[in-house]
Amino acid sequence: MFNQIDLEYNGPVNDPKASWLITLCSVLGFLIVLTLVLLNYDAHNAGLRPYVEGSLSSSGVTNPVTAVLLNFRAYDTLLEIAVLLIVVIAVLPLRNSKTSLVRCIEVTNHDLVLTSLQRWLAPAVLMFAGYLLWAGATQPGGAFQAGALLAGACVLMFQTGVYRVNYTSIMARSLMACGLAMFIAVGLALIWFEGSLLKYPQDYAGVLILLIESGATLSIAICLASLYSSLIDIPGTGHAATFESGS
């Protein structure tokens, strides 16, 4: 929906001096407030770090960031994945198309450099995304990073215009929803088995977190790829055709 915007502004051009003055005043004011806060800041609090370190052994992972994101504050992450879904629904076209997820189009002029880059780089990126997902349990990494990398691989594949993704097909919609669906399914199942929402049993916590992250990785990747496709419209490469209507 938002990609249809073409706003024209015919009013008077802003006075650059006034804009500068306003920006300067607001920035200065903000800095003064910040300084005041920091001066008055009593540093006796270490935040939640000791709590996190104390409970890390029972969280199923050893990386504190992953433990906070997917165990201690998993509910926030679940809602954030819902936020991503909202953004994607907002930019999807209004009609659902019945064509399949990916179609190949015959392109007459092959770009040799681009094609070989795709052949060499895309599988490596795919592998590395899988590694990042796996490494999230012990080191910096995890679903968001892996998903972003996968989306990058998709963007690389889009460059030749050979592959066209239909983001409104049932397959694409299932992939977009699978991150949130997996999270909700695990969370609700744990109410049944453990008696509390998102309360992982200690032995299976690592596996369940990896399961949730795998679903989230797929959703994040296709959501980011669809955002790219909806914003980029290169003439000749047929990206606009990804939004052909189903009627």
Partner: protein, 509 residues
């Protein structure tokens, strides 16, 4: 786990709308889509009713807590429900049911329904999650969900005006969220926790708390659209699809208001001052007069109703000066989290105002949507003589208008009565003048519509356009139910006040 309690239902009312959103998103358009969504709304309503009954029955007006993942407050996230939030949840459940029925009829044969239903349910999930949240950062995430899905729903209309309004709404909402996030960062630095109850327990009148309170107030005022920051609201609310307009005015602005009230009276009540509350009250007073005047000058029906929302929100902000005074006189200790600070007669008036305005404004938007559908145009001038063709919708509009003006017997009358008595009791008589003049101005802009609607003189043929199809029975009857609820609330004031305000707490003061 053996006995059922209201806190066990807390995660359900967040997850049920999320599941409904996923089902609506994955299932393609089909014939039973409308029934499916109404079914979800009905189940949610039943759960909310059950939860309210359990809460009133078991809790003796204490707040109920659900620990997600059994981690407990500082490390994990707690879901908390108290009297105010159970009232908001109940209101959300009721309005969701009626507006979903309306939406099912409104979007019966429209390809936009594919995008409408997932966004709609995600918005409801965000509202429910916000009202049960007990964590400062979790509230930020909920505000994000609400703001993004609301902006996307406004853009669903796909007209140029609605896209511009949606974009502005989105940017204003994001700016407000960033102010709030900044405040949360400051609070986390000085308190070392994100849990609202723990922040409240350790909050005083320090500088970080004051700066955080200022940032939260500015950010949320942007989202609530109090007078100088209201610039985005009329266009966004007027250009949205009708069920979206209704929920935006009835619940979405109230969600930010809920957060502001929670911080102002419970979490950071130590750092609020009499002067600041007077400023909010003055802004509210200006909003009443200015919003009513702009509503009177509006030429589009939905713009008129949207400006009326700006005015009505002003009344709720009179709560701040009035209850600040009450807190001063009754030697109340400001930093307890029991919610007793938010149980004076001023807060009773504000809560009642929130409920009354939500029902009346939703009914008014629905009936206005029906009139526009029937007339084929949103121009006020085109409404001439419409009472003969759409008598029921004009009746609904009138009932909602009576409540907004504050005439008996309606919910709006009780709300204004509570507000007037509170201002006289607290000695701040100047607010009485504002409330009374606001009522007169509301009567001016609403009677303008009604006199046009009942005007049957055929002066020239151009005004009387070709009659369109009459609005469907389902659309009209769901609006009628809301109007009747508005009337019924005028007779059952005690019920609402008892849910939100524990009699224990009142006698404790």
């Amino acid at each position: 786990m053996t006995s059922l309690s209201s806190s066990l239902l807390l995660p359900i009312i967040v997850f049920l709308p999320l599941i409904a959103a996923l089902v609506g998103f994955i299932l393609s358009r089909n014939t039973f889509q409308g029934q499916l969504n109404v079914g979800f709304a009905f189940v949610q309503f039943l759960i909310v009713v059950l939860m309210t009954i359990l809460f009133l029955d078991e809790q003796s007006y204490q707040s109920a807590v659900y620990q997600i993942g059994s981690w407990g407050a500082p490390l994990g996230i707690d879901l908390v429900v108290d009297g105010f939030s159970i009232l908001m949840i109940g209101l959300t459940g009721l309005l969701t049911l009626i507006l979903t029925i309306y939406g099912a009829a409104y979007y019966a044969d429209d390809p936009k329904s594919l995008r409408f239903w997932p966004l709609w349910w995600l918005l409801i999930a965000g509202l429910n999650a916000l009202f049960v949240s007990g964590d400062a950062f979790n509230i930020y995430v909920c505000l994000e969900i609400i703001g993004l899905s609301a902006a996307a729903l406004v853009a669903l209309q796909s007209t140029r005006a609605s896209l511009e309004a949606a974009l502005r709404y989105l940017l204003v909402g994001l700016l407000g969220s960033l102010f709030y996030l900044m405040a949360i960062a400051i609070l986390y630095r000085s308190h070392g926790t994100l849990d609202l109850a723990q922040i409240a327990a350790s909050s005083g009148n320090g500088l970080p708390d004051q700066v955080a309170m200022i940032l939260i107030t500015i950010g949320l005022l942007l989202k609530i659209a109090l007078f100088p920051l209201h610039f985005w609201l009329p266009q966004a609310h007027a250009n949205a699809p009708t069920p979206v307009s209704a929920i935006l005015s009835a619940l979405v602005v109230k969600a930010s208001l809920y957060v502001l009230i929670k911080f102002w009276f419970e979490v950071l009540s130590g750092s609020t001052t009499f002067g600041a509350s007077q400023v909010l009250g003055v802004l509210g007073g200006i909003a009443i007069v200015y919003g009513s005047w702009k509503a009177f000058r509006a030429t589009q029906l939905k713009v008129l109703i949207a400006y009326s929302t700006v005015a009505q929100l002003g009344y709720i902000f009179l709560l701040f000066p009035l209850s600040e005074h009450a807190a001063n006189t009754s030697s109340f200790s400001g930093s307890s989290f029991s919610g007793s600070s938010f149980s004076g007669s001023a807060s009773q008036a504000a809560i009642y105002f929130i409920v009354a305005h939500a029902c009346a404004k939703a009914a008014m938007f629905l009936s206005a949507g029906n009139l526009i559908l029937s007339q084929g145009s949103g121009d006020i001038a085109q409404l001439k003589g419409i009472a003969t063709r759409e008598p029921l919708n004009v009746l609904i509009f009138t009932i909602a208008g009576v409540s907004l003006i504050g005439l008996p017997p309606s919910a709006g009358f009780i709300a204004k009565w509570l507000l007037l008595t509170t201002s006289i009791e607290s000695g701040q008589w100047w607010w009485v003048l504002v409330v009374l003049s606001g009522g007169l101005l509301a009567a001016m802009y609403l009677f303008k519509i009604l006199s046009l609607a009942f005007d049957n003189t055929l002066d020239d043929g151009a005004v009387q356009r070709q009659p369109k199809a009459l609005s469907s029975k389902l659309l009209t009857s769901s609006a009628l139910v809301l109007a009747l609820i508005t009337l019924a609330l005028g007779f059952n004031a005690e019920f609402i006040l008892n849910i939100s305000n524990p009699p224990v707490g009142v006698s404790g003061i």
